[in-house]
C-alpha cells in the first residue's frame, strides 16, 4: 500500500529520512535525532504533525456532546481555551487522548492522534447521534506544524503579525503566520514552551501555504525535527504515546490520567460507570517512571523485575534520554511498586540492569528544562 503523504512531504523527501509511521511517510530525522532533540531543549525545533487528526465540532449541543464523549469537563472552558482529555469505551479503556479547543460554545476544534484518525472520527460520529452537533474532519484541509523550545516564541514572532506571547499556555489564537491565516495553540508534545500552528485552508494536494509557513519558520531560525526526536522528547517529558503507554486495555486511572477524569461534572460520560467502579476497587497496575542506575537502554517490551527477580511488569516506552544521558522508561507495575525510589531490575537481553522508580512527568529537573523553567 502506498504511504499517505502530509502537506510537508515534499520537504521530507528532499531533506529527511522517511519511514512508515502508521501509514504515513514521515521523517524520522533530518540531520540526527540527538541534535534535533537538543535544538528543542535549547532553542527551537519544528515538527510536521499534519498526520494528526483534526475535526471541527459545531452546533448547539457541542459542549454537551463533548462532555459525553470525553472524561474531562469541557463546560469549564472559556473561548480560546484548550483542554487535554481522554475518551473511553464504556468499559473504561482509552479510545484516544486528545485536546479540545473552544472558539465559541458552539464551535470546537478537536485534535487527536494520527494512528487513530479513522477510528476516532467514527467513534465521535457514532456517539454524536443524539446531539445537535456537526462533525467535519479537516485533517486533510488544514496543515499542522509544532514549533517547540525555549525560543519558540521568539522564532514564531518573527513571522507572525499578532503578539504570540499573549497566547497563554493551553490557549489558542487566530494569527497570521508568514502571511497565511493560521491558528496557534500554546501546546505541544515535548515538555517545552511552544505552539502547534494550524495552517487553515491548506489542502494536502495543494500544500503551497503549508510549505510556505514551514519555510518561513526555517528562515526564522527553527531546526527541522523528525519523529525520532519527537519520541525522545515526549518520553523525557513523561507524556503518553497512544499504542505504547495507553490503549483500549488501559483505563485512565491506571495510566496516571486520573486528573483528566471529572466524575462530578454535569451529565453522564462514556465509561463513567466502569471508571467509578475501578476507582472504588482500586487499580491493579499503575504507570511509573523508571531510571536506570547502570548502563543500558531500556526499550518497549522489556521485562521489569523486582529485586527478588520476580516478573512485575513490562516497559511500554523506553530509551536513552539525550538530556540526562541515562536510560529512562515507563512501565505498568503493581501499585505497591509505585513508590518513588523503589528499586527494580530491567531485563536487557541476558543482563538484569538495576534501576529505580522515579518521578516521570517529567523525568528532567523542571527548573532547568521544560516550559516551567522561566517561571521559577
Amino acid at each position: 500500500m502506498e504511504l499517505k503523504k502530509t502537506h510537508i512531504y515534499r520537504y521530507h523527501a528532499d531533506h529527511g529520512n522517511i519511514v512508515d509511521f502508521g501509514g504515513y511517510a514521515m521523517p524520522v530525522w533530518y540531520e540526527g535525532i540527538q541534535a534535533e532533540h537538543r535544538a528543542v531543549r535549547e532553542g527551537c525545533g519544528i515538527f510536521d504533525t499534519s498526520h494528526m487528526g483534526r475535526t471541527w465540532a459545531e452546533g448547539p449541543d457541542t459542549v454537551r456532546f463533548l462532555n459525553y464523549l470525553v472524561t474531562n469537563d469541557v463546560s469549564k472552558l472559556e473561548p480560546y481555551g484548550g483542554l487535554y482529555s481522554v475518551m473511553c469505551k464504556p468499559g473504561g479503556g482509552i479510545v484516544d487522548d486528545l485536546i479540545t479547543y473552544m472558539f465559541t460554545p458552539e464551535r470546537f476544534l478537536v485534535v487527536y492522534n494520527a494512528g487513530n484518525r479513522d477510528k476516532d472520527f467514527k467513534w465521535m460520529k457514532k456517539n454524536s447521534k443524539d446531539f445537535q452537533v456537526k462533525l467535519t474532519d479537516v485533517s486533510d484541509g488544514v496543515a499542522m506544524i509544532a514549533v517547540q523550545g525555549p525560543k519558540a516564541v521568539e522564532v514564531l514572532q518573527k513571522i507572525t503579525k499578532e503578539d504570540v506571547s499573549k497566547i497563554e499556555r493551553f490557549h489558542i489564537g487566530e494569527v497570521t503566520v508568514g502571511g497565511e491565516k493560521c491558528l496557534a495553540a500554546r501546546t505541544g508534545y515535548t515538555g517545552e514552551d511552544g505552539f502547534e500552528v494550524f495552517v487553515l485552508d491548506s489542502p494536502v494536494d495543494k500544500p503551497d501555504k503549508a510549505l510556505k509557513v514551514w519555510d518561513a519558520l526555517l528562515g526564522a531560525g527553527a531546526v527541522p525535527c523528525g519523529l525520532g526526536a519527537r519520541d525522545s522528547l515526549r518520553m523525557e517529558a513523561g507524556l503518553w504515546l497512544y499504542g505504547n503507554d495507553i490503549d483500549e486495555s488501559i483505563n485512565p486511572l491506571e495510566a496516571g490520567l486520573r486528573w483528566t477524569v471529572k466524575f462530578k461534572k454535569e451529565g453522564y460520560f462514556i465509561g463513567q460507570k466502569a471508571l467509578l467502579k475501578a476507582r472504588e476497587e482500586g487499580v491493579h497496575k499503575t504507570l511509573v517512571g523508571i531510571m536506570l542506575e547502570e548502563r543500558g537502554i531500556p526499550r518497549h517490551g522489556y521485562e521489569v523485575l523486582s529485586v527478588e527477580e520476580k516478573d512485575i511488569g513490562v516497559i511500554t516506552s523506553g530509551g536513552m534520554s539525550p538530556t540526562l544521558n541515562v536510560g529512562i522508561a515507563m512501565a505498568y507495575l503493581p501499585p505497591e511498586f509505585g513508590e518513588l525510589g523503589t528499586p527494580v531490575l530491567v531485563r536487557i537481553r541476558k543482563n538484569l540492569v538495576k534501576g529505580k522508580v522515579v518521578k516521570h512527568r517529567p523525568f528532567y529537573d523542571e527548573t532547568v528544562y521544560g516550559w516551567k523553567r522561566d517561571k521559577k
Binding site: 540526527g32 540527538q34 548502563r295 530509551g319
Partner: protein, 133 residues
Amino acid sequence: MTDEYKVEDGLYYTKEHEWAKKLGGSMVAVGIDDYAQGQLHEIVYVELPSVDAEVAQGAALGAVESVKAVSDMYSPVGGKVVEVNEALLDSPEKINEDPYGEGWIAKLESGSLDADLGKLMDAKAYRAFLKSL
C-alpha cells in the same frame, strides 16, 4: 547507494556487516563496518562481551544500539575474548566516526583463525556484496 560506504582493504567481512582484522599470530580485532554504522546512525550504547568469554564463529558477541534500534553483533571468528574497547562505553560514537579504527569492539585470540577467515569475504567480494543489497 551502497557505494558511499567505506570498505577497507585487508580486512575480512561478514554478511551481517562485521569485520575482522589480523593483528599477527592468532590475534584478531573485530568490529562493525561502515555500512552497519551508517544504517544504525547515531550509536548511543555498546554492550561489550566479557573478557575471557569463549565465542563460536557467528555467535552473539555483543550489541550496538542507536537511539531507535538495537543491532546484535555476531563474532566473525571463533575464539577467546582477550580485550574489549572500553572507551566505547563513554564514547560509543567512535563507531560512527571511525568504525575500522577507534571503533573496534573486541580483540580475540583464535585457534582456528585461518579457517574462520576463509569463510568470510575479502574487501573486493564484500564491495560486490554491498552493491547487491
